[in-house]
Symmetry: C3
Subunit: 147 residues, 3 copies
């Protein structure tokens, strides 16, 4: 039984950028030579989600619309009230209450099976890293376990 760790790095373009990371994950699994096992795909950011859905551009537009409706940028979040907030303030802190609000309803990680040295996915399933904040440098941590 082997455990292999890897990090995928990327630069996102904008809020609600959907980045299809399926191929990158698949390549990593191939390299490990692990035939049968599991993989954990973990976002290392509170405002980046990992979702499994279909890579159809109009559907991605729909998902953006729904996420924006659920946690609108125009809503007044207390997290963005820098007059009263004292915790976790950094230099150049940006208002991203909406990003965290979107995040609570989306998964931080995806755990998928590896069968015959392949990431097991259904016909339409693809793995996306979803940027909930603005354009950022991001890291996705992979942990691959199996034999």
């Amino acid at each position: 039984m082997k455990i292999i760790h890897h990090v995928i790095k990327m630069k996102t373009a904008a809020t609600l950028d959907f980045i299809d990371i399926t191929e990158k994950i698949q390549q990593k699994i191939k390299k490990t030579g692990i035939k049968n096992g599991v993989i954990n795909i973990q976002s290392l950011h509170t405002t980046m989600a990992i979702i499994i859905n279909e890579a159809e551009p109009l559907l991605i537009s729909d998902m953006k619309t729904l996420l924006e409706k659920m946690a609108p940028r125009t809503f007044k979040y207390m997290h963005d009230n820098f007059e009263i907030r004292t915790v976790n303030m950094c230099d150049g802190e940006c208002k991203n209450g909406h990003s965290h609000a979107k995040a609570i309803h989306l998964p931080t990680s995806a755990f998928l099976n590896i069968i015959k040295n392949n990431l097991q996915l259904g016909r339409w399933q693809r793995v996306f890293a979803v940027e909930l904040d603005r354009s950022r440098a991001r890291e996705i941590s992979l942990q691959i376990i199996g034999k």
Copy 2:
């Protein structure tokens, strides 16, 4: 340490069919003889979710109401606009934008502990496969790891 793979097949009845798969999973775990480990229960479909909740019929009605309210069938999804959509169109493609919209807020997989050769669940916890599309043939992939 063993890794055992299994697929549960089923035919769902209708949109928002909640199928309690707890016993089927439990039987599989018993057969493996694995005493201590984990199981990943993964839907192989973009419009089928895996949720953990209570098997109380009125509660299931409530959940259907809420999912329908969150991503209504009557909403105009771009994914359903077959005049302009060019990607992933199959023969007899049906309008299921609402199914994908429901899916983004629900988990694709559940990862649970195995203790003493039993699926570990709290008193009221049951595992459901939830059909978000219409009646379909479906597959749930199980990966059981442990010793």
Copy 3:
């Protein structure tokens, strides 16, 4: 490869109590001596969620507001209609339809990587157990796998 099981017990204070369990999990990982692996953090309750987000008090207020808006306590849930409900009724059953309704959109478990005998988390990521019901005695099950 080792598999180590542990249960975190707690008493929650009120509905939507956010309990930061990151340190407790970290201590458990340290004790196991496991250098490289994964951990599954599983709520054993249908009305307690496990979420990963930032420990900023105003943000937690925002999340409470959003969860309450999504599945309001004032909504009439059929699960709470004790005149017609016959299933899973216990002594002193309380109306908690809103708790289950909040639960369907939140994860029951979190699966995270262990790197160099540490729980791997991004800079702002913290693990919370979130009480969706009233003040209760609660259990979180940990399964730690690795070597």
